[in-house]
Amino acid sequence: MIKINTPVDEEKIRSLKVGDEVLISGSIVTARDRAHKYMVEERPDDIRGDLENSIIYHCGPVMKKHDDGTWEVVAAGPTTSIREEIYQADVMEEYKVRGVIGKGGMGPKTLAGLAKTGAVYLHAIGGASQVLARTVVSVPRVYKLEEFGVPESFWVFTVKDFPAVVTMDSHGGSLHDKILATAEEEFRSIVDSL
């Protein structure tokens, strides 16, 4: 297990390779479909400080507001990342993001973006919303809550030991490409024998 603390520098991120298992601590920011579209189309500045050398989490959490105004994370697993493929590389470059946590992996544009910006794709366990919510120690801020609603807002989470696996690195490596190639080969041998 490799420990990653945000803010994290480029050198540390470039040292990560496909298959590395990491535990992330520090601040991360949730962003999904509307947030990505908004970042690319409107380039908001207020979120820059939270994103620079930090990590984006593709997640639409279930949140609970306490009477004193603080927020608690009820459930927070990753959502499918590929929907952000058209935006991700630009977002990472524009906001100097060092990593993206999600599920399902991403495509060639993001893979190239990881190499260019110096970032990694981190795969969390899809559906493990309780195990992952447990790692959130506090929720210091949220952006765009009124307009985007709970699942689509930018939630800033302070996490401790959030577990993930590097499945795409900054050297062009992708576990997803490898697994797909093996599966396709096996598929051909199975169907040929029918």
Binding site: A75, A76, G104, E186
Partner: protein
Amino acid sequence: MIAGVDRDGLAESLVELIRRTTSKLPDDVIKRLKEYRTKEEPGKMACRTLDTIMENVDMAQSASRPICQDTGTVTFDIQHPLGARQSEIREIVKEAVVAATAKNYLRPNVVDSLTGEIKSDNIGVGHPVIHFEQWDNDYLEVTLVLKGGGCENVGAQYTLPQPALKAGRDINGVKKVVLDMVVKAQGKGCAPGVLGIAIGGDRAEGYAIAKKQLKRKLDDINPNPVLAELEGWVVEQANRLGVGPMGFGGKTTLFGAKATTLDRIPASYFVSISYMCWAYRRRTMTIRNGEVQHD
């Protein structure tokens, strides 16, 4: 009164059904996941992923919280005795969904397809999904399935023949397209998963019936030997593809497959596949003479 309960009683029991469904995986699902866990090599990522999944299942159950934050499309299948008013039941179901959302059993998860507006109470056009059937029994049975977007999105519908896959209009053709779907899905539907398969029908019925297969218990045995063989074959071969939990690699890609047929018209031959993720949230409740029973 419906099956001996009043309006409030029914609403209350439906909220409880939602709580149970969102936070407790069915026993047959847990049993299967545990079985497959033993097939993975200890220490490998596949094995640890399944361990984390089981830990998550336990945590959700003890805290009555969602197993997965994508509480999905909320689908009720309601079988009721003669004389029950569907319009009334529909209103009560909606009330229960609103109440369960306020309790955080469900995430505000319904979006206006044109404006992008989120419906904070989960009531929208066509949501929740409610299927009614009037039956000859004297009791009410409600099955709730919560199915998230990741797994819904990897489902597929094929028309046979498929020349590129050398898939003809026969059972081998069906096998080829089903396995092709599993290859394409990789870990994206939160593998390991379960397939509901419908052979035949038209496009709409094909998908509807494929999804309905997901109501079956994992350990039931298909009475049709051809379909029983297909179900076994699909799971066995899918698990040779090496996709594994979350697509990290491993032996557990599917932990079940359930198939059925519909007759078709000569010109069409559809194979419709619905993919359910490991967070297989399905629960049933029955109400008989005012007595509520949860599975």
